[in-house]
Symmetry: C2
Amino acid sequence: MMKAITIKDIAKKCGVGISTVSRAINNHPDISEETKNMVMEVIKESNFIPNKSARNLKLVDTKTIAVLIKGIDNPFFQNMIRVFEEEIQNKKYTFILHRVDTNQDEVEVALELIKEKRLKGIVFLGGSFSHQQEKLQEITVPFVLSTIAITDNVDKNLYSSVSVNDINESKKIVDLLLEYGHTKIAVLAADSSDMSISQLRIQGYRKSLTDKEISINENLFRYTCDNSNAFTMENGYKLMKNLLDSNEEYTAIYALSDSMAVGACKAILETGKKIPQDYSIVGFDGIDISYYYNPSITTIRQPVEQMAKETTKILFDLIENETTNQHRVFEGELIVRQSISKIR
Amino acid sequence: MMKAITIKDIAKKCGVGISTVSRAINNHPDISEETKNMVMEVIKESNFIPNKSARNLKLVDTKTIAVLIKGIDNPFFQNMIRVFEEEIQNKKYTFILHRVDTNQDEVEVALELIKEKRLKGIVFLGGSFSHQQEKLQEITVPFVLSTIAITDNVDKNLYSSVSVNDINESKKIVDLLLEYGHTKIAVLAADSSDMSISQLRIQGYRKSLTDKEISINENLFRYTCDNSNAFTMENGYKLMKNLLDSNEEYTAIYALSDSMAVGACKAILETGKKIPQDYSIVGFDGIDISYYYNPSITTIRQPVEQMAKETTKILFDLIENETTNQHRVFEGELIVRQSISKIR
C-alpha cells in the first residue's frame, strides 16, 4: 500500500514546524533561503506533493498552446496574435506568447518549453525554418508553421504549415510594375544571405523580370546589414537613403514589407521628390499603415485573420483528432493604391 | 519512514506495464485516452511524482515574471515588450507575456496566473486601474503598474508604478497649440466614461484652456463608442470623419494617441484639405510612425525604453531586496514637427 505523504511528515523529517514547510512551499518572504532550500530538498526526495503542487500535477493536464514568434514588433503579426488568442481561449486552452530572438534557434526554444510547460501544441510564427529532419522529429507535440519560409527539402509529413506562396505573390506585384511601364525597379531586402521570406520574394521579382526578358541589374538591390530589424520602417528609410545617394537609375522601388515601404517613402519625400510622380513604390503584407499612409501604398495583402484561424484549426485537428499534417496556401490580394503611376 | 513511490508501484497498481505508465506521463500518442486518464488518476492519488513531474516540482522554484498587457496591438507597447524580455531574461527569469482583454479584470487574471505559474512578480502594462484596496492586497507577489492610469485613491504603499504625468504632458502640447494661436481645438478621445489615460489627457487639455481663460466647447470632443479599439488608426479615422461631417469650427485637432492622429490625417487628406495649412494636428506617445508619417506628427514622446527598464528595475528590487513600493514619474518630450502651423 502506498500511504499518502502529508505536510506533517515533511515537517517532522525537516525538524521544523508545519508553518515553516508551508512558507517554503508558498515562497513566503519570512523564511531564510537555506531553510527553504532544505525543506524543498526533502520534499523532492520524499515525492511529497504539496497542495499547490498537487494543483501543479493537475497542470500536467493543463491544456497549453504556445505561440513562438520571431519579430514580435512586426505589426504584421499583431492581428494574427489577437486571433490566436481568441481561438485558443475559445477552446479552453491556455495561451502562451513566447518571443524568439532573431538569433535563437526556435526548435531549441520549443523543446525547452515543451518540457517546462507541458505544451499540447505549438505555433511557430514568422522567420525562416531550415532545421534538420531529426531535429523536427524531436518535437513531441503537434505544431504548425505559420507564415514561415520553409526553405529546406524537409519531408512535408513532418510538419503542418499555413502561408502564402511568397514567390508567386511577389511576382504578381512586380508584374504590375512592369505593366505600368517600370523596368528599372530597385529592391529593398533583408540580409543577402537571408533564408526567410525576403529571398522568396526576391525569387518572385527575378521570375517576373526574366519572364518578360528584362535584364536584372544587381546594383538595384539594397540588402540589410543588420538583419535583426530588416523589415522595419527605420531600415526601409536607411536602405532608401543609401539608394538615393547612389548613381543608379530606377523609376520604381519594391520594398519587401509595408513597414520598409513607409520608411522608404519618408526618405524620398525628405529630398523633395514626389510619390508617385518621381518614384513609384510598392510594399508587401497589407498592414493597416499601408492604407493610412500618405500616399497610400500599393501592396499584396495577406489574409492574416483567415491564416491565423486556419493555423489554429489545423493545430486542434492534430491535437484532438490526430489527423495527419496539413499544408494550406492562401492567396494574397493585390491592392493598387496611390503610390504608383504609369511611366509616360 | 517515507518510502519513495516508484513508477513500478504505479504500474502494478494500474495493472499495466511500466512503459504504459511512461507513455501516459509523457503524453505519448500510442496510448488510449482512457488508459492515460486511469494512469494519471492513480498517479495523482498516490502522490507519485514522475521524473518529469519531479522536474515540474523543481519548477516551484522556476523564476517566472508575467507581463499582463492591455492593448497588445498598440504599437506604443512594442518597444517596451522588447525591453521587458531582455531585462527579464538577463536576470535569468522566464518571461510570460499575457494579453488581458479590455473587458477582463486584470487582477483576477493575475491571481489565476500566480496560482498556475507560480509567478515571482508581475508587470501590469496599459489600461486603467481602479481596484479595491482589498483586491490589490490579494496579490501575493510584487507587482509594478507600468504606463497605467491610476484613477482611484488607493494607498500608494500597496503598489509600485512607472508612468508619465498624463495631465501635465497633455497640458504641454495643448499649451503649444495655444501659443500657435489655436483656440478652437477638437479632441479625439476614448469612451466618455473611460477611466484610462484618455480622461487624464482630457484633464490636461481643460487645464490648458482654463488657465488661459479660453472657453471650452464641449461639442469639439469626439468620444469613442466602442472602447475596445479606442487608440487605433481606424478609430482616429472614424472620429475625424464624424467631426468633418459636423458644422463645428476648429483649426486644430488633438488626437489622444499618435495612431489616432494618423487615422485623422487620412480622413482630412481624403477631403482634399491640407495639413497643416487647413488643420493643425497633434498626437501623443511618440511612436515611430509619428516620425515617418507624411506630414510628420507633432507629439509628446514618452521615454518608453527607460520606462520599461525602470519598471523591471523596481520589480527586481521588490523581489530580490524586498524594498518598499516605489513610484517613478518620467518626463515626456514635446516634439514639434510638420503637422502644425501658426494661425496668421
